[in-house]
Symmetry: C2
Subunit: 215 residues, 2 copies
């Protein structure tokens, strides 16, 4: 059965919430409480999880540890993922310095740039390699994920090379809609495009009062 | 007529592509060529634009400058947008240093943090303010957009305060599904959650060969 991508997109959120509950010492949680903490209805949570089997017992809630293990297994988070970064400018360096990847099992193992002033430099324990060496380097040491932090103009070319190197998941920081063959996955992480699709709504209702939720 | 959010999400991409064409000196472009450069079908482009009126003439393509102006007007990009950043840690400082916002009309005008060591410091021409002053500061100088770069645990509280201050668009870098009333817009920009929903697919087909596109 094909599972809807929106369901897959919600699972990492459930995982985060459960991990945080586990740290707090919670052993069991109801779909009601999990939903409240996430802004998702309990019915939605039950339906999403039902794609993957039966979790929890009617009226007794979910075992936090067990559900977390299952979600890790389902999402492939029970292993390490190797990533290559292309583009070590300001943005690329911020990505290299971001703590959130490694703690979640995502490790940047190679960094590339075209700028001769950057090639050969050490940045966060990696030596920046020449982007023209992408193919020989990644064919010897394959990675699972490519992080694209190059300007819009060269982003598609970089993505094409990454795909030729067998990369099947791309985190795209460039403001383009990447063209990829089926079987390759792209997530766009570009703040300005995200802002620009929100201003459409702000513009239409510039200062509409927001209903204050009663508490 | 309610325009589907996926259409609104594509318009900024069209805008980027057209701006780049204009820089290159192109005056007219066909939906065919625009589509090829974006990985979108020409029919999709024509359908998306048809929500907003008639652009271009049959068989003559779009006037790049005119369509760009129209899209700017539609998306509200013909004005400046004021933004407040909450969280001036490593991530927040990278956001403050990001060049892409200002050049597209998005200006960070206030920065807040809870950490006393950060409050009062100058970062990229802004003085970091105490996050407890969010309400008095933003009620005097309202902003359009809130950028949330705080840990997951406090992100919802920050978002609630921003909404009380009249903020109706949130760029959320924290790994939570924010709960917001209707009329408030949130875009989540969190790379690890994005990665975690791709690994689901990699895990299921770990080393499937990618069909090589014939060229």
């Amino acid at each position: 059965m094909e599972i809807p991508p929106v369901v897959i997109d919600r699972l990492p959120l459930y995982t985060r919430a459960l991990a945080s509950l586990e740290v707090q010492g919670r052993e069991v949680i109801s779909s009601q409480d999990l939903g409240t903490s996430l802004g998702v209805t309990p019915a939605q949570i039950r339906k999403d999880l039902s794609y993957f089997g039966r979790f929890g017992k009617q009226g007794r809630g979910y075992n936090v540890r067990k559900l977390l293990d299952e979600l890790h297994r389902i999402l492939g988070l029970d292993r390490q993922w190797r990533m290559a970064l292309v583009g070590v400018g300001k943005l690329g360096r911020a990505i290299l310095g971001y703590d959130g990847f490694r703690s979640q099992g995502f490790r940047i193992v190679e960094a590339f740039d075209v700028n001769p002033e950057r090639v050969g430099r050490r940045v966060d324990n990696l030596t920046v390699r020449d982007a023209t060496d992408l193919e020989p380097v990644l064919s010897k040491n394959p990675v699972d994920v490519g992080i694209v932090a190059v300007p819009a103009e060269t982003a598609q070319d970089v993505i094409d090379v990454l795909i030729r190197c067998g990369v099947r998941a791309i985190l795209n920081y460039a403001p383009i809609a990447a063209r990829v063959p089926s079987g390759v996955y792209v997530k766009r992480i570009e703040p300005v495009l995200a802002l620009q699709s929100m201003t459409y709504y702000l513009k239409n209702r510039p200062h509409a009062p927001i209903p204050t939720p009663r508490s």
